[in-house]
Symmetry: C2
Subunit: 349 residues, 2 copies
């Protein structure tokens, strides 16, 4: 039943005990979400600072209050499960489909200087994104779109970043299926660099870099792992990570709100297919980072293209890729796996 109209998503918003916003996203027909959060929470005292690294002209966020954030709690203390009986979690409801709330341990400074949200993909603690069905994936996508629009309207927000970290190997502190949404008060370093490169390409060739790169990958085909009518998934020619797949809509849009109904409906099936291929690579589920690249809100919207980069640090069973001197010191990535070989394994897997 994909083909969800955004206007058909049931969206209900409320406040947690300490004043943080919580928003539920449900398919039509779900029960009403009634929040009754009586936890004795004091208002969060987040005190992040934005600092600028003058040598690289990049912002760095200093968020020292997060050192004490919840760290790998046992499943029966998971703060992202629905509340039940006397146990009260961040979700003060008996059940939910997709829910978003302001992060209690926000990395960004807060009002006027960004915002951090948590997005729960399911109330079921034991699933992962790869196990969701097409309907749920589409509902998550509609929540990402909603948040991208709403957060863009906050003062001081320059770029919205929806992402998921999955797996203890990359430092995930809660195993419940969830992602995060950062509304940055600056254009991120990586997007800044991509925009500079796209601008130079435009001046030199008159073309749009992302269009030409995706067209070349599709023409070549050796690294394409899956596609459908509206999306293509491929391992990039210069992959930095042992497993790395980029998903692009065939028709370029600047950001998630720019996707049309057909693109939205077609995303879930391809993304779930990619994630399931990831999990079949090894005996254990693949740790990964899934990162939506959206154009910033004020600049570069005609030059950059929405895409999703999904990548893993696992390079072999029991072996991880570490960012050591060359990567962390010089930004020079040494890839351990031939991208065509990764594409082949994912295509056949």
């Amino acid at each position: 039943m994909t083909g969800l109209r955004l206007s058909d998503v049931r969206r209900s918003t409320d406040r947690l005990a300490d004043g943080r916003e919580i928003i539920f996203f449900d398919r039509p027909g779900a029960p009403k979400r009634v929040v009754d959060d009586r936890r004795p929470l004091t208002a969060s005292t987040a005190s992040s600072q934005l600092r600028r690294d003058p040598m690289l002209d990049e912002y760095v966020v200093i968020a020292s209050h997060r050192q004490d954030r919840t760290y790998l709690p046992p499943a029966d203390e998971c703060p992202l499960c629905p509340s039940s009986g006397g146990r009260r979690t961040e979700l003060p409801v008996p059940d939910y489909q997709v829910a978003v709330f302001e992060n209690r341990f926000s990395a960004l400074p807060g009002p006027g200087h960004g915002r951090c949200e948590v997005i729960c993909f399911s109330s079921d603690h034991a699933v992962s994104f790869a196990n969701l069905d097409d309907d749920r994936a589409e509902l998550v996508l509609s929540a990402w779109i909603d948040r991208s629009i709403e957060l863009a309207a906050l003062p001081g927000v320059e770029q919205v970043f929806c992402f998921e970290n999955r797996g203890e190997e990359i430092g995930v502190t809660l195993s419940h299926p969830h992602g995060q949404i950062y509304a940055y008060p600056f254009v991120t370093p990586r997007t800044t660099r991509m925009l500079e490169v796209a601008q130079r390409y435009r001046e030199q060739t008159g073309g749009i870099l992302v269009d030409d790169v995706v067209a070349a990958e599709r023409r070549d085909g050796s690294r394409v792992i899956a596609e459908n009518a509206h999306w293509t998934a491929f391992v990039p020619e210069a992959a930095r990570w042992p497993v790395e797949v980029h998903l692009y809509p065939k028709q370029r849009v600047p950001d998630l709100p720019g996707l049309d109904a057909q693109q939205r409906a077609a995303f879930g099936p391809l993304y779930l297919d990619v994630l399931q291929r990831f999990d079949r690579l090894y005996a254990t589920p693949l740790p990964y980072i899934s990162a939506w690249h959206q154009a910033p809100l004020q600049i570069g919207r005609e030059l950059l293209g929405l895409h999703l980069e999904v990548f893993s640090i696992r390079r072999a069973p029991g072996k991880l890729k570490y960012l050591a001197g060359s990567e962390s010191g010089m930004g020079a990535f040494i890839g351990d796996v031939q991208p065509e070989r990764t594409a082949e394994r994912l295509r056949l897997g």
Copy 2:
């Protein structure tokens, strides 16, 4: 007995069984190093590729042959210890002071396209850089200088990077005290970015960015942790890592060969002091990456300044900093520790 003249370093060069170069660096008076490598080694079949990521206009190295490199061997199989009796290592001598040889598992493609070397800081398996004495640190520095000059003369080399990865937590596969030297066939992404920023600063202010940044840090003083007549060590204002210290010579030079005798003699005492402070932070030695930033060989030599960046991913006992979505996806670092707090701990430590 610091104040070693480069011309007084005893330098002897030879070949390993498979043709790789090995170079010994000794203080005056050491015995002659006679190499007799009879291991049945076949010539290395490294086959790295340079690929360009068009979206970021950066090179990525694909080095898939390294998947099988030596991984955490037991101490009695360490390939960096001197050879003894029937056991033959990469060092076919009964002892050495500092030794450099071409990496058998080179990340870079080789002749005409870069070179990777290993540098052993001591023949003693059990020490780490922090335990070396001033004399040895100065000898290591003279070896880095030698390699920076020699590698710069190879065709196709654009930048020389001397670095050390220390600790299993950052993926070190051999515990013997050693570092690496990469002679890149390109200017690294991070240096490219630093040069762009320094050029813009020059155009806008007429000043040299690195001089002004170091002067500001010294004037402010709140993050300076140690200094001597020729070097300053401070935590940068926008530190990305939980522990991060930068060491700058007070008189700017573009690269290691640019250091004069006084700067060379003064480096070891300060660096050893910093590393010893690192190891006193926690109950166990601090994993770290130590990265020499040298100006590229052809460009930016009047705008960039030699410095050493030393940083750790340890953010608390038993807790590491992971590069997750914000850092790996967007290049936006979320620091977990107030830089002034880190500086204070290191100053008092």
